[in-house]
């Protein structure tokens, strides 16, 4: 791996964050099983910044996003921890206030533009309805706003497109419409759940450039969920890598994507096909993501990790954060001159480091129970 060490900088005092999530836990309870989808995640996000959440399917990234809009079924979901957006405490406000805030304070763009649009209404009717739902304006004014929004998201010949039904539009145009609708009430926080995954590479880049431009112009905060490291590099200011419902690495986009420290992020980067020699097999990560119904003790990535030892399964590794706010949850990371470093030779606790625990290392029973 490339161990580019960024220049050391002193910690700068940060302004009050716009979004603050503290120790968020989301559990789905059913008769068969209890699924722990999100297991204590915390992050801050300032106004005008883009946080990219990277993770595989089942890592809890979409569940985390939906929690910010309180979209989970009430009876079967247990949400713990704090979520604050602006001055609103998302976790405690009433349902009626939440309905008002959806769209105006927090808005969301979903992955599949076809299912996010109603096939029976024209695009214009759907956008105008959203505007009128939140703002007391006349039908004509709402329609004019819809036209303005289509121009904002650069839909060609917008007057004609307002009268079109969703099936008459291409995937890229539909996604632009969905973005226009999400922006219709000028949200302060935009959530985007894999908005470009279903699109062609050529259209994907158009949508990413568009989202980035609108986000900057409107000064919105944005949380963007993706499984594609290339997409994250394209849009993120900050990156959070999720695995089994936890943020296992966090930091400035370049720090995380170019010089990752957590073995999972490093392995993800190494396993991505990108100009490697054809004669060499890809460095695939063995095994499959953990079962959220029965999470292993300690580090969830340990069963798939090339650097795992018995010290990894004792407890969930504590976050190690450096001066640049680059954080990783791995017992093999250390602070060196104030910066985060990954050292495969380092052991998680002193006992193991001094070789006292060598017996435990060779005993699989111990590993499983620890």
């Amino acid at each position: 791996m490339n161990d580019m060490s960024p220049p050391a900088v002193a910690a700068v005092p940060r302004p009050e964050p716009f979004v603050r999530v503290e120790d968020l836990r989301v559990t789905f309870v059913s008769r068969d099983a209890t699924v722990r989808a999100v297991n204590g995640i915390s992050f801050d996000l300032e106004r005008g910044k883009v946080l990219c959440v990277i993770g595989e399917s089942g890592s809890g990234k979409s569940v985390m996003m939906r929690s910010l809009l309180r979209l989970h079924p009430k009876g079967r979901t247990v949400i713990e921890g704090g979520m604050r957006v602006g001055e609103h405490d998302i976790a405690s406000i009433g349902d009626r206030t939440m309905t008002k805030l959806r769209g105006s304070l927090v808005s969301m763009v979903f992955q599949e533009p076809m299912t996010a649009l109603d096939p029976l209404y024209t695009v214009g009717e759907q956008i105008a309805e959203t505007v009128r739902r939140h703002e007391k304006v006349s039908r004509e004014a709402a329609w004019a706003r819809a036209l303005e929004l289509l121009e904002l998201v650069r839909v060609p010949s917008p007057e004609r497109r307002l009268k079109a039904y969703p099936h008459e539009l291409s995937g890229g145009l539909r996604q632009r419409i969905v973005i226009a609708m999400a922006l219709s009430c000028r949200p302060s926080l935009l959530l985007a759940d894999e908005p470009t995954t279903a699109l062609d590479a050529s259209v994907q880049i158009q949508i990413l450039v568009l989202l980035r431009r609108i986000q900057r112009e409107m000064g919105m905060a944005m949380i963007f969920v993706t499984h594609d490291l290339g997409v994250a590099a394209q849009i993120a200011d900050e990156v959070a890598v999720m695995y089994a419902g936890r943020i296992i690495e966090y930091g400035d986009a370049r720090d995380v994507l170019v010089a990752p420290k957590h073995p999972y992020t490093r392995a993800m980067l190494a396993s991505t096909a990108k100009d490697q020699g054809r004669d060499h097999p890809l460095e695939a990560i063995a095994g499959s993501p953990p079962d959220l119904r029965a999470l292993p003790d300690g580090c969830s990535f340990a069963p798939r990790c090339a650097h795992a030892g018995p010290d990894c399964t004792r407890a969930v590794p504590a976050p190690v954060t450096d001066l640049r706010r680059h954080m990783a949850r791995c017992v093999r990371t250390r602070l060196k001159a104030g910066l985060l470093t990954f050292d495969p030779g380092v052991a998680g606790d002193p006992a193991v480091r001094e070789g006292i625990d060598l017996a435990a290392r060779s005993s699989p029973a111990h590993c499983a129970s620890a």
């Binding site: 290339g230 394209q234 396993s271 695939a284 499959s288």
Partner: protein, 363 residues
């Protein structure tokens, strides 16, 4: 009609007992393949227009190679795969499988074609029968082709081992009990059950997570060497295509716009469409962001493709000649497969385009 062609460098296959045409005979020759879908409307359900999904496509697949096919959605790459498999009837064109024409007298018949040519689809869940345990799904093909129950079952179990699934653990499971990556392994095993020569992989890894995608790509590499396979690999992921392919074919609106060895295409793309498509690849470095989209808008409708060069509506180098005359790719069947060809007036000497070269023969 059938041209014996020198094998592309580096991928010389070992002699295979199933070989009929000899090692230099291409595995598959596709000539002038056409397919259009009618659009019916009105009271009498008359055909009002047609979508020319695959419009005069010719290419060669050399034995033992991986041919990558790239293009935007709607360019006809999946229709092409289905035409090769004879899942939909073609309108015109000819297929030659290892020296024998397909579907003609004294040629290969359809069941023989299906034995030699198998396909893995994108959606790993919907391509498996939800009512069959996966062992039976894999054994189904051999049973249909006449194998006994016990030998088909034994074969299914050995195939599961080949694709990295423990048969005693997974054999009796149903598709919904498997993860996406495991289902795609089952699909690969099922495609291999008839001992095919050529495997068509239509976006076979696109729906998988990155870490699982790498596992499946490695598996495909191992199987290709073990079983002496030839792949047609269709994908929109240009990084993956570069990793897995020996040669690449670029499609735009139903036509081949560029074909050549993978490094020639990626390092020195000739066609402006290929150049733009490659520029859409995302860098892993936030400092190397694409600030302006290389391709504006969506591809034009294949119902009424633009006259002349089909790419001229989005091409930055468009000139008068492009709007009137369609550029030709060159005779892909007559030339050696390692040649790099592009259907663009800018590479055709004397085409009338101001950027066209003066002399003949620089590719």
């Amino acid at each position: 009609m059938i041209h014996p062609i020198a094998v592309a460098g580096g991928s010389h296959p070992s002699p295979d007992p199933r070989d009929r045409g000899g090692p230099a005979q291409p595995m598959l020759i596709v000539q002038g393949l056409k397919k259009s879908f009618p659009i019916r409307a009105g009271l009498l359900n008359r055909t009002v227009a047609e979508v020319r999904a695959v419009d005069d496509v010719s290419f060669v697949v050399v034995k033992g190679e991986t041919l990558g096919i790239v293009g935007e959605s709607g360019c006809g790459k999946s229709t092409l795969a289905r035409l090769l498999m004879h899942l939909i009837p073609k309108d015109a064109g000819q297929l030659v499988l290892d020296g024998d024409p397909v579907g003609e007298a004294r040629g290969v018949m359809l069941d023989e074609l299906r034995r030699s040519l198998q396909m893995v689809f994108q959606d790993s869940a919907s391509s498996l029968n939800p009512r069959l345990p996966i062992e039976q799904s894999i054994a189904y093909g051999p049973r249909v082709q006449g194998a006994s129950g016990s030998s088909a079952k034994a074969q299914a179990r050995s195939l599961m081992e080949k694709v990295g699934l423990n048969p005693s653990l997974f054999g009796q499971r149903y598709p919904h009990e498997l993860s996406g990556g495991q289902k795609q392994r089952v699909n690969i095993a099922r495609a291999l059950a008839l001992d095919p020569r050529l495997l068509i992989l239509d976006e076979a890894v696109s729906a998988l997570d990155k870490s699982v995608e790498a596992q499946v790509l490695n598996l495909l590499g191992v199987l290709k060497r073990q079983l002496n396979l030839t792949y047609i690999f269709i994908s929109h992921d240009l990084h993956v295509v570069r990793y897995i392919s020996d040669r690449v074919l670029v499609m735009y609106l139903g036509q081949v716009v560029e074909i050549g060895p993978v490094d020639a295409i990626y390092d020195d793309p000739k066609h402006p469409y290929t150049q733009a498509l490659l520029a859409c690849r995302l860098s892993m470095d936030p400092e190397a962001r694409v600030e302006a989209a290389p391709l504006a808008g969506d591809p034009p409708s294949p119902v009424s493709p633009p006259p002349g060069c089909r790419f001229h509506t989005r091409c930055p180098f468009v000139e008068e000649i492009c709007k009137t005359a369609a550029p030709v790719l060159g005779d892909v069947l007559a030339l050696a497969p390692e040649r790099h060809l592009a259907a663009c007036h800018m590479v055709q000497p004397g085409s009338g385009h101001s950027r066209a070269p003066d002399r003949v023969g620089v590719h």
